[in-house]
Symmetry: C2
Subunit: 483 residues, 2 copies
């Protein structure tokens, strides 16, 4: 934004005159100077876009946005401020594509939708696939949801409304309803002829699903294998070994796990009676996997669902509760310290050293808990090996504790010239890091058993334990040994 | 393991007599009692497997492992201890499938390879696709790598060795070399006939790539679209709009980003002269995306590349350096406290309250830095909006700081009956949380500019800043106000 005045002629623009459809040519960003940033929007393009918005030059804006993928246009809208966003959308007008809405971060989706004129919104959503519309409307407020549903054609509206009857974050919401299914007894030739005659094949599909007479999927064949096989071969001879069906009510996180674990490309979705109701493809699963990871990382850091695009008040609302919880635990730790005020007033060195014990315990605990939270998420930490893992983490904590006990014992001795102080901090270090290893593993395991997301709450519990134990062990031992 | 004696008859076994190829039926775990755990190996299956190993019952072991996906068998090997692992592999013998090696966590791959007899290893790797062999051998020690390369047939060995000439973690290593490419001027009918005549089509492919006479990819057509189109149509009429090529030297993290951002299913890989050399499919990109996330989470927590399966000494080696860095920063913070020993000895309440200021700053800083690290990874925090984001985070820190300043001011007043103490902690809180917001955003941005992974090093820097500033502001203000 600070570079609006820059020479915008140097920006890489769409390469015209190459005889190629510009839509099929790579986005300009791909030719950026820095190779590693090859897929991000480069700064110059964003600056040029904002320049055209400042100048109110619609033609130039359209020319700049035309070669960009909808995901990149969404990124532009996310990166500029609310004032520029409004002006950009007004200027862009009816060129606004429905796919941009799908790509937008949820935090500014509502704002952008409210900026679109009813006509533009209608054209935008009518272009979209029904599963994308579901993804778009599911978290919108009632009035906006209805505005979009009203804009749809009748058949699409019914499809979207049916999808919305499935629970949030379920396979039923994730799936597309358009499937290519054939009877299990067909041959390769029959399947190929059937597909070539149908004129409503889905845009993206990778398998032909074999179903029994009651529409229960019993296998699937990749299109590549179909192409490569003789016409007379039975389809059942060339089904994929990795075939799996997904219950419509299954949580989307489990769906993503299955795709990742079993390298699925697409999988049929079935209702309670095992009947085929839709199909989920790997690109949808990849988006969910990405979202789940994002959620884990943010939750581990005590940031609810934060993103850079959230409104200021939204951000405060997300972060304040976690800080409040942290304040509570910090006060708890302070109360432990307060128990030993007398000891501290006689040996001020204790006040100097005590944060070290707590900090090392907190760090060791965070290491253990992060490994445990990840292992739970990837199903590597299960009932079969939980005790072995806990023993192992305790041993790791004890070993690291012993190593740092020696270091800190010597530092304590040298710094304050008192071997007893060195011995106290060494002992407290061993105790606290052992506890850190134990708590770092057991807290997430217990939370998981209690059906609480371990990523969400483990950190607070573990650092509370290591703070309290750290201060108590150090100051308590000091009270016994030094006085 | 503790449940070996359990009634193993209740385990869900392969369903025989259903007339279905067991390979095509879902794994038994999918029928587990708990729906949410539907894709993890259930505890009973693992117990039954270990029971058969204990009993030395090869037939039962093979029967139990037969219906499992290679990824699940790899999980079993990861979950049991080294002793059981050795016995299981010895007993399983030549049934051992190459795919299991691909699925194994790197931490125990070498161990498992060393347990296989040369014959079993040879059979196992000969079944694998060449890109899977590359993935398998790239991080092995020299002797094991050679043992596997020697086991391969000549043509496969050359392909693997060529792939290994590309840099680690590059698109060139990730790609498969088998491609389906046709001249750009061909029609739908020509492409279909060509494919049906070829007898070496890759197992998995989703697009037909159009190339110009110099083998430069200029577009691709999905197999579904090919099926649905009339034979006479030119292929160039039905190419996908989202087409992108990937340079062979590109970092695999950027490849995964492109797949996720642009919803690619497969993309051709090109050499420096833009010639087609291979293709990357979304399932490979999804694995990389998953690995990158794992890396980010673990690095943010100061755990190098840890997993539960690492050997004990390996784990100590990974975690010790981070704890040592943390010890250094904790000592730095202690030295700040030591500057104020005189003040603390006169007001012990300061020792009680000071960890609260540091802890709140540390937490607020972690929140900001996590959001910033994620935004850098997803390319949402760029040169275009960096100053706005920094301003915003500073404002968030200031606002949260003000809120908790009021709370802590009151608590300080009530707890210690001294309004000046309340005022000091309130002021220190505002200062430290403002600094936390600033440092939490600027540190990762600066590290990223310096080409250091912000996930790796930000946490240490930020908490050092908040500890030092927190103690200094609180104790320094106390020294000015209270004395």
């Amino acid at each position: 934004m600070t570079e609006n005045e820059q020479d915008i002629e140097t920006r890489p623009g769409p390469r015209n005159g190459s005889g190629q459809d510009p839509e099929h040519s790579p986005a300009p960003a791909e030719e950026g100077v820095e190779n590693e940033e090859s897929y991000s929007l480069d700064r110059r393009t964003v600056a040029a876009i904002l320049f055209s918005v400042d100048a109110g030059n619609r033609e130039q804006l359209v020319e700049l946005l035309e070669p960009l993928h909808a995901a990149d246009i969404a990124d532009v809208l996310e990166q500029v401020n609310a004032y520029d966003r409004r002006r950009l959308i007004d200027l862009y007008g009816k060129e606004f594509d429905g796919e941009i809405l799908s790509e937008l971060d949820e935090s500014i989706r509502e704002e952008v939708i409210s900026l679109l004129t009813p006509d533009v919104l209608k054209d935008a959503v009518r272009e979209m696939d029904s599963d994308d519309v579901v993804d778009l409307v599911e978290y919108l407020e009632e009035p906006q949801q209805e505005a979009i549903l009203d804009a749809l054609e009748d058949s699409d509206r019914v499809a979207v409304q049916q999808a919305l009857t499935f629970p949030e974050e379920s396979a039923g919401r994730l799936m597309q309803r358009e499937v290519v299914a054939v009877p299990e007894l067909w041959t390769v030739g029959q399947a190929i002829d059937f597909m070539r005659e149908r004129d409503d094949l889905p845009d993206q599909f990778y398998h032909v699903i074999l179903v029994d007479p009651r529409m229960k999927p019993i296998g699937h064949v990749t299109l590549g294998r179909l192409m490569a096989s003789p016409r007379r071969l039975a389809l059942s001879e060339i089904t994929e070994p990795s075939f799996r069906t997904i219950p419509a009510m299954q949580d989307e996180g489990d769906v993503a796990y299955a795709f990742n674990q079993y390298h699925l490309i697409s999988a049929p979705v079935v209702d309670e009676d095992d009947r085929l109701v839709g199909v989920i493809t790997i690109d949808d699963a990849m988006i969910v996997l990405d979202e789940e990871h994002e959620e884990d990382i943010l939750r581990l850091a005590g940031v609810g669902e934060g993103s850079l695009n959230d409104r200021f008040t939204e951000t405060i609302k997300q972060r304040l509760p976690w800080l409040a919880v942290n304040l509570g635990t910090a006060i708890l730790a302070s109360m432990v310290i307060a128990m030993f005020e007398g000891t501290i007033s006689r040996f001020v060195a204790l006040a100097v050293l005590m944060p070290i014990v707590a900090s090392m315990g907190g760090n060791a605990g965070t290491q253990s808990l992060t490994v445990a939270v990840r292992a739970i998420a990837t199903r590597d930490l299960t009932g079969s090996n939980v005790w072995r893992v806990i023993r192992r983490e305790a041993l790791v904590g004890l070993t690291n504790g012993a190593a740092f006990a020696v270091v800190m014992g010597i530092i304590g001795l040298i710094w304050f010239g008192d071997w007893r102080l060195g011995a106290v901090i060494a002992a407290a270090m061993v105790i606290n890091m052992l506890v850190a290893g134990l708590a770092g593993t057991m807290v997430p395991v217990v939370l998981d058993r209690l059906k609480v997301d371990p990523a969400l709450a483990s950190g607070t519990f573990v650092t509370t334990v290591t703070d309290v134990v750290g201060f108590f062990a150090f100051l308590g031992l000091a009270g016994l040994v030094l006085i």
